[in-house]
């Protein structure tokens, strides 16, 4: 397999993992499972409500910065291999 393919496959793997988390915290915890999670509390917040109005947004920000880190590392490795 050539280097471009390896690079692309790794990129796709990162995307699948990160987008699964993206989906879980918003559509999962914030919407589909919100009623179930609302039985639990985080301080004064019902957990499902917290994910929908706070938690999901924090995770989104973290996800992008993790992606930046992973891709910079991958770019670096890819460059060195050349």
């Amino acid at each position: 397999m050539n280097k471009n393919d390896t690079y692309w496959k790794t990129n796709l793997k990162y995307l699948v993992i990160l987008l699964s988390i993206w989906f879980s915290v918003s559509f999962g915890f914030g919407i589909l499972l919100a009623d179930t999670l609302n039985q639990f509390h985080l301080g004064g917040f019902k957990l499902g409500f917290w994910f929908a109005q706070q938690g999901a947004i924090y995770v989104f920000v973290i996800l992008i910065f993790v992606y930046i880190y992973l891709m910079n590392r991958l770019d670096q490795k890819f460059k060195n291999d050349k």
Partner: protein
Amino acid sequence: MELQYWIWIAVGLSFSLYIFIAIRSRASSTGEFYVAGKGVPPIANGMATAADWMSAASFISMAGIISFNGYDGSVFLMGWTGGYVLLALLLAPYLRKFGKFTVPDFIGDRYYSNVARAVAVFCALIVSFTYIAGQMRGVGVVFSRYLEVDINTGVFIGMLIVLFYAVLGGMKGITYTQVAQYCVLIFAFMLPAIFISLMVTGNVVPQIGFGAAGSDGVFLLDKLDGLHRELGFHEYTTGKKSTLDVFFITAALMVGTAGLPHVIVRFFTVKKVSDARKSAGWALLFIAILYTTAPAVAVFSRTNLIETVSNQPYKTLPEWFGKWEATGLISYDDKNNDGRVQYVADPATNELNVDADIMVLANPEIANLPNWVIAIMAAGALAAALSTAAGLLLVISSSVSHDLIKKIIKPDVSEKGELVAARLSAVGAVMLAAYFGINPPGFVAATVALAFGLAAASFFPAIVMGIFSKKMNKEGAVAGMVIGVLLMLFYMTKFKFGWFGGGTEKDWWFGISPEGFGSFAMMVNFLIAVVVSKFTPAPDQNIQELIENIRNPNDE
């Protein structure tokens, strides 16, 4: 000092700053006019994107809408932030690597077809115009509320300012004014929010404060749920909308955000691919500051409103109540003549109507903050409206001068000629936007949702498949975009304007509201594109190479 003087000072100073920046960063080439010469540092681009993105509606209306809808308001919070994850991971780096000027550029080149390009231009123009009319109106409304001038005069002043810096500076001028506008608007939003959080919960961080307990030791959200039950409203922390509809609306707003041309084009302005990724991260961080504060403001002002007015004698209500009553944003009708305010869910006995915008606009007064804070709020609201208007304006002018004139109608136009055309179309677009701001078409409110649905149903699938599938061809992409957009237009006009026989909530397909239908139309787009591409010839070798190239982050 008088409030009016403070407001004129704050607005005057902020406007002078924008004009000063515009004069310092004039554009002298098409590259500078369309994409700021591709030299914007990631943090600056993040701030510019945040200002570009957060409109008058985010600044003034969103917290209020959440305040009245509780959990159901989450669709805006997740929808308008989650789209940035899609942008950062699926679009921004590759479009930056592609390295041209506009979204139709990418669609036209990747799908080797001027038909595809023209469809993209058409979508970009519809999306941007529906959006910009709302922004110009927003400028007018802010002027009229804070400065007591006529709405039309307000639209006119706003138009002159945007005209000046967008036409002169193009993307370069817009970018650096947006950086300044972000600073103004975030300061203006956070300052009263922090003070109110301190006042209500004793916590300086609003995001934590609204999960804390008030002075009586009861958690704020539990108290609010209790008040809501007592007055017959739906519980604040759970939803009234169906789970399926919340799901579809959130998805449509996310995907729509990622498909909005004025947001995408901001990622063309940075130096390299890794900077495009970084800008998306910074942009979302800067946006998240406002978006995580807004739900806190919503809870504080909702609780405050109910406690201040519910069952209180009308005569003893605080001063701000009377002031906002005069603007028509609050109205009180003593139906049972007991001199008290009955604020309940049942419309037959409810005596109070409150406009959602109050929740942010009246904040400084509710928290007893000094006049200069109100002045900064005015400057912040204007910054939010102007920055978004300018970004949209640029998309409109580049769609006309670059995508239509240079790429389709008259390819031999000189760079100088194209730059003149870009400036002229910006002038034309501002005038048209101002016209819509002064004579708002009745459908403006409805069409903002339409803009997201359209972006989701048209651009997003075409761009994503253009990057991630080497097999997607022009027949598939064009068929997908055209059918996606037409389906979306059909559904919106049917249920919003009563065309094609109209219909009510009962007739919604699968119970999906028009606001959420963009997700459905997007899926149809994907499906049609894939099916059609299976039966038509795959793209040429040079397109395969183009895709290889945009996937490779290195510059050569």
